[in-house]
């Protein structure tokens, strides 16, 4: 029997960051930058107006006030998108829109609100200093400078900055492609009615959803019967598109545990009893020339989802180049709302409903109990040496993926 930490350490010391790949900036959403990115162009790319108003020589309106406005001729309109460079002579103005290029010579903008809005001549009622409402070329970003560092997570603001700085494609750590396979002669596909002795393959849809929720890309193979040859062929066939493979079932003490039987022949695979409940029978190793990580999770659905949260999700984050966050989906503190027992010598993952930070049991805790699992918000993590939790005790909880919502 090994500890949860030992099994996780073995996994995290085996998996490696996926080799970088070039993607379009929008497709790179949620990915980690694999290299520093330099701006192709400056931002702004040309000196422009920050307001709708009038471009002026500030010295021409130095005396302007509400009581004694300055009137200037309006010799041009400059709209955003105007691609012609203009020049503004002293004693004149040009009407200018937000984002439009400043005419050469002009050094300030008077907002339209400080004028009479005239189109032939304009009465200016307030003075403005040199530089007022002017955005200087390069004041946000200078061409050639690093705009985003390697390791940055690309969200909406980062993608906008890249696009604006002239970057259409970036090298990122791609989302891990994760093949999801269930094993068992008892499985029927979702939508079919199981006969006596059969069950719907809910594990592969659950783990496919979990892979999506963690930000990776799932490929659901679905159910494979308990046949060594079929399973091996399936695994070999999927290796080509997999950064990782997850199987469920066939790793326990049974006489027909095909996953264990097939993969035990592979050198790097190791099957262990891990001191946890649920989820004791775990297997992990790498497969093929590319050393694709394979997680063989137990077949009970609650065990499988707990194993995913505890072992697979951290591994996928590491493969995606992310630092493990301290905040969701990391552990969060809570308080037990009711007493419950816990088995000694095993780390127990108790399905709980969180009401703010108060955690109550989500119902039946059997490892086959999907009803209670579906009611839960989080897993309360009870250490090996704790056998009794009293109401009011502090707990660490692992929020269930895909429950935070939009």
């Amino acid at each position: 029997m090994i500890s949860v930490e030992q099994h996780l350490d073995r996994i995290l010391s085996t998996v490696t960051v996926i080799p970088p790949f070039e993607l379009g900036v929008l497709d790179a959403q949620g990915c980690i930058l694999a290299a520093d990115v330099q701006a192709r162009g400056s931002l702004p790319g040309f000196t422009n107006s920050a307001m709708d108003g009038y471009a002026v020589h500030a010295s021409d309106i130095a005396t302007a006030s509400a009581e004694s406005p300055v009137t200037l001729p309006v010799v041009n309109d400059i709209a955003a998108g105007n691609t012609k460079p203009w020049s503004l002579a002293s004693g004149q103005t040009m009407r200018i829109m937000t984002g439009a290029p400043m005419p050469h010579g002009a050094d300030a903008v008077v907002p339209v609100e400080a004028t009479d809005g005239g189109v032939v001549r304009v009465q200016i009622r307030e003075r403005r200093s040199v530089g007022a409402h002017v955005r200087e070329v390069g004041e946000d970003v200078e061409a050639g400078n690093v705009v985003l560092r390697r390791g940055t997570l690309l969200g909406p603001g980062q993608i906008a900055l890249l696009a604006a700085a002239g970057i259409a494609r970036v090298r990122v750590v791609p989302r891990p492609r994760v093949v999801v396979i269930s094993t068992g002669d008892e499985l029927v596909e979702v939508g079919r009615t199981p006969g006596f002795g059969q069950i719907v393959d809910s594990n592969s849809v659950m783990l496919t959803a979990a892979v999506t929720a963690v930000g990776a890309t799932p490929f659901r193979v679905g159910g494979v019967p308990d046949d060594a040859r079929t399973l091996m062929e399936t695994l070999e066939g999927q290796l080509v598109r997999a950064d990782a493979i997850i199987t469920t079932g066939g790793v326990s003490m049974g006489a027909f545990d095909t996953v264990k039987e097939v993969l035990s022949r592979v050198g790097t695979m190791r099957f262990d009893k891990v001191a946890m409940r649920p989820g004791m029978p775990q297997g992990f190793g790498v497969l093929g020339d590319e050393r694709v990580p394979v997680f063989t999770l137990p077949g009970n659905p609650v065990s499988a989802l707990v194993s995913f949260h505890v072992f697979v999700a951290p591994a996928l984050r590491a493969m995606a180049g992310r630092p493990e966050p301290s905040y969701p989906p990391g552990y969060v503190p809570a308080v037990a709302a009711e007493p419950f027992g816990s088995v000694e010598g095993k780390m127990e993952f108790v399905r709980v409903i969180l009401d703010d930070d108060r955690a109550r049991l989500a119902g039946g805790q059997g490892s086959h109990m999907l009803g209670a699992l579906a009611a839960a918000d989080a897993l309360a993590v009870i250490p090996e040496d704790v056998t009794e939790v009293a109401a009011g005790d502090e707990l660490m909880c692992l929020p269930l993926l895909g429950r935070e919502g939009m």
Copy 2:
């Protein structure tokens, strides 16, 4: 000038929950159930073994102990997926695997660890009570009972429960389909090099990413020139696939503000100055027979992203049938790490970097400053009546979407 709350109230009292739609369970990930769902079958669907071991009549092994084991003949193997109903006579055992159907007459399972693992006859070293390691039909979920209530967010566990209970398709509130349009003659498409007076259309990629980050489905139209007819035709053409439309640009005080010009003719659209910085010029209304909500956001990128967080994201959540969460992406508390000023009479959204709960300025706060925006984790929300924030002051922060990561 209206307040942020007034504008948001108007939006939230106008938008409605999108009509329910039937989706496959996996496609419904992240959606809200539109109706209670009843189980088609029971869970478990048949009484089965919770362990790999031996099915017995508990009365036959009542005296079993390590010192005085009970030996019984093994008359059959029952694997998971065995679809034949067997019967177990008293005085006999059958080897049984986890999830395999219990033979008629058997009332307990002895785990293989408590035996010698025999295949012809087995020595049983521990007694087990009636019901031990047996999962009774329907003990998790009974056929016909409600398994998930209307309003439930579908994550991995919920999807697994639905699939297991025989549900392949569910009525949910679909993800809002959101059309994203930028306006302006100055825009060039991502990947093209802007000429003098031009900029890359970064707003539409930013807001497309933001729509994705909030869990809705974006359709990026991209840049549309400042031409009333083109804009109106684009809007009309997109209405058919839109649950909402977002535009950027053309809503300020400019002489060529096409969005304002075109949509002002439409009865329900209203353009307001909202007491906020950045993001003052806002427009909102509904368009077409389907009363599609239209958000006309300002064209400065920082203003656009702030407006998305403050007005559009809550509206999309409401349209998706979600209760507004109190937890991400809601407001979180933080402490100012440094002093900064704030304009009086406007709610200010300051781009900050969070180091745990300590918030420091992310750099230049101009509404065109993408560099500082891309460095930020959150928007610190400074109320209208606050003009000075001191180091150590408590702040409320709105985390930026898509920055939490995997």
